[in-house]
Symmetry: C2
Subunit: 506 residues, 2 copies
């Protein structure tokens, strides 16, 4: 990289210098979020919130279209309810926010807790316990089934090493919870929702993923099966983008969710749960960002187009501003992805170049500059975020093509990420030693960027997963697309029963 | 009321028998929400959640249209931040959920809190402290102003006597927080948002209100002025439907929110905050419900129209169901209030009459029955929830008029509630003794329904508000519409300076 090119990069360090620090700097430069004064919690700023809001709006419509209703369960879980599902507690609810008092008193200018609670509460780390208890009261007969609920909520899991969006103490999510009369129906539900998440990843976030089921060691505590979508960050690690759990009868046994069958018997319901969280914003950043900042996939961007007036000749400033506002109105009449194009005119009192760089860092998909010399020809300069290319264009051409410009931008982001993923899934690694070497940085490599996904054979023995710990590698999933070929387990050398994806993960 | 009429009532007790218990029973019969196993918290069920969701969607669009952006601040507030605004703590943050530990450990089969926190946290009772701290870091210059943010969030205030929707430990709300360079701009903001809430009450919820400012004793702790909308329940009490606070420089002083002015000076910002909560669902229930259950204003109903197939002749059941589904599709192509009509076909395995009553109790605006005898004439029976009237109607007529049927239903609800409010605002009560008598149930009155709003003169002396305590009456507001006439204060007899509304309140 030449010095001139290096200067061009708005984010320091570059991705290949220090990826985790690059990530922090991108979030700061794009003004997505910040660490709050409460350790482990984050404040999501408007440009970051808008991304989550678009994810939520899109997914909420799909959740409803697939026959679910929204509801809302309490923030707090009493310990007595929590104690009912032992695996779940063991795996989940240990690191949490514990509420012991309900009052503060001023003593010598300091506030101190008073009013100790009779029963200790925790802030929900997930809502299986509360919803299991409710299902046990709501469900009596096969006529009451299926129950298909979802909630949008905040949850808290104590985090000692928080990372914005990817791992925060409080995070936002949706959690679907369903109960069914048969194993098959519940299993179909789990798969259907993973399918919806797949569309979310591809159609909305332009993120390619590998779909599969979790190995026993990586399953949700209390689940019979956990389905997942795994994406690859640009430092070649995995991010679990969502999970969909088939819980079998485990939670319905723990919470006594039974129903009278049509033929007069009694059975435990089959339940599922599934969720995506604000970590998707982190995944999106790590997949699409570059050395100049964020690249927001257009469908989740607060603004698709940012118009920047170039105000260099004061006698024409008003005309330029008028042209910008007129273009905004014209663009807002156009549709992208079936909805009006979202446009912002940045008329802040700053130089156009400075504003341009701010929007590059924030990753607005299209920037449009209009200056005094564009007025006569009714033209503008259109800049694309991904390749930073600029093109002079007639205003009418832009208006007529804004939909296809945004669509092809989305497609380019997806294609770029897909090529990266495909290039870094290795299928030629066959032994634990080779895997060790692959996941160990070599001297000539940048310390942070090495490895990738290893697709290899596995014997499905739970105990072997522990052998991966020293490599800091986990089985990300057993992909749905199995090769079906025979071979030896990469860990034990014994006859393998499946293909698995091995990787380091966030 | 005759025995036949009494039997018609689906809710027991009736409103005039025991209004608070009627309220609980309506919420249960309408399946809006329930008390959760966590004392003081509620579970909002789908029919109740949908109402809040429609409120949220409508208001969110207005919040954005008036120049605000959404963001999200953490759930937890450290005590050190809280201690900065003394009035605020004194008035607000005393009864709250206090987090002292971050871990659970199993000991002899029980979970016990371990890992005591270095700094105690509380669950936010409101976010002024967190947002004040953020504003102090984000705002430096007059160019950074105004900052106009909103968040949709859950908050917790410890409640010893919870009441579903009206007063729960956890509740959901939006809280707007803005900072401005001038007093006038902040003051205009407070008034503008109260105006938006006014449209919400009238246009969405069909609830008439009295708008005004709070007396000093009823103000938000730390505010210079609190604006409010007060509605009247059918037991003639007041509900505060929203508040919009002009905070002056109080919070910006407590949190050091300063900015450099254009002329080189430094000043504290002027801030506002404003919010509405899930209690609006309770207000709606108490204003519009009747002895047969809930009446949901159509714009916030999950379904505008519920179609009930009458399946009495098994050989025609399929035809009836087909006709119902065809009608659903036709209705969904119609618009009400600019959005597609929301329709549900209730094909559950129950008698039509039973289903009809279930939807009356839930308060669905329009019910449509189609039976085998309606097929040849392509007609149906349309029932309105408010007056329970039924009318035979051609299917085409219904489809062509569904918008006006829903609009006039909304208008009837508003007119009925407005007539009730107007009938129970008394202007002829002039002394504290008369007020005492007015607010004391007489022998011949039903114990729960008496009183109303008293509109009377007041001297604006803060100390006099305490004299109202023994009457369990408060000043609800000093209405914006002042008579301007002179007179004597109803409490002290001294010369009055304003008109005020006195009432008992939820």
């Amino acid at each position: 990289m030449s010095q001139a090119e290096e200067q061009r990069c708005a984010i320091s360090p570059r991705r290949d210098q220090d990826f985790p620090e690059w990530y922090q700097q991108v979030i700061k430069a794009a003004d997505l979020a910040e660490h709050s004064p409460v350790r482990g919690c984050m404040t999501i700023k408007p440009w970051g919130w808008a991304i989550w809001e678009e994810i939520r709006n899109w997914l909420d419509a799909r959740i409803k279209a697939t026959g679910h209703e929204n509801a809302y369960f309490p923030l707090f879980v009493p310990l007595s309810l929590l104690e009912k599902e032992a695996d779940h507690v063991e795996g989940f609810a240990k690191e949490c926010a514990v509420i012991t008092h309900h009052k503060l008193e001023s003593r010598e200018g300091k506030l101190v807790p008073v009013g100790e609670l009779e029963e200790t509460l925790i802030v929900r780390p997930t809502s299986e316990a509360l919803i299991g208890e409710a299902f046990s009261r709501w469900i009596h007969s096969w006529r009451d089934l299926p129950v298909k609920l979802n909630q949008w909520a905040n949850v808290v899991r104590w985090e000692m090493r928080p990372r914005l969006f990817l791992r925060t103490m409080e995070f936002l999510w949706q959690e679907g919870h369903t109960a069914h009369a048969t194993e098959q129906e519940a299993w179909e539900e789990s798969k259907m929702m993973l399918g919806e998440y797949g569309k979310l990843m591809k159609d909305l976030l332009a993120i390619p993923v590998i779909a599969g089921k979790k190995s026993p060691g990586e399953r949700f505590p209390g689940a019979d099966e956990t389905l997942t979508l795994e994406c690859m960050t640009q430092d070649r690690k995995a991010i679990q983008c969502c999970t969909s759990h088939y819980l079998g009868q485990n939670f319905s046994r723990a919470f006594q969710v039974t129903f009278n069958t049509a033929d007069g018997g009694t059975e435990h319901a089959y339940t599922t749960s599934w969720g995506v969280t604000t970590r998707l914003v982190g995944a999106m950043t790590m997949v699409h960002g570059d050395d100049n900042g964020l690249c927001v996939p257009p469908k989740v961007a607060q603004y698709h187009v940012v118009i920047i007036p170039v105000l260099t000749q004061s006698e024409k400033n008003e005309d330029v501003l008028r042209a910008c506002r007129a273009l905004k109105e014209q663009l807002e009449e156009q549709l992208f992805d079936g909805k009006p194009v979202r446009v912002y005119v940045d008329d802040k009192d700053m130089r156009a170049g400075e504003k341009g760089w701010a929007w590059i860092k924030k990753g607005a998909p299209l920037r449009v500059e209009i200056g005094p010399r564009d007025l006569d020809s009714n033209s503008c300069v259109v800049a694309k975020r991904d390749d930073l290319s600029k093109e002079k264009m007639g205003v009418e051409t832009l208006v007529g093509h804004v939909d296809s410009l945004l669509t092809s931008y989305h497609d380019r982001l997806f294609a770029r990420a897909k090529a990266f993923l495909d290039a870094h899934v290795r299928t030629d690694i066959a032994t634990l030693d080779e895997m060790k070497a692959f996941f160990t940085p070599k001297n000539e490599e940048k310390p942070e960027i090495h490895g990738g996904f290893v697709r290899a054979k596995w014997c499905e023995d739970r105990a072997t997963e522990d052998l991966l710990k020293e490599l800091k590698v986990t089985i990300r999933c057993l992909p749905f697309e199995q090769s079906g070929t025979k071979g030896s387990c990469i860990i034990t050398g014994r006859p393998a029963t499946c293909d698995a994806i091995f990787a380091k993960a966030y």
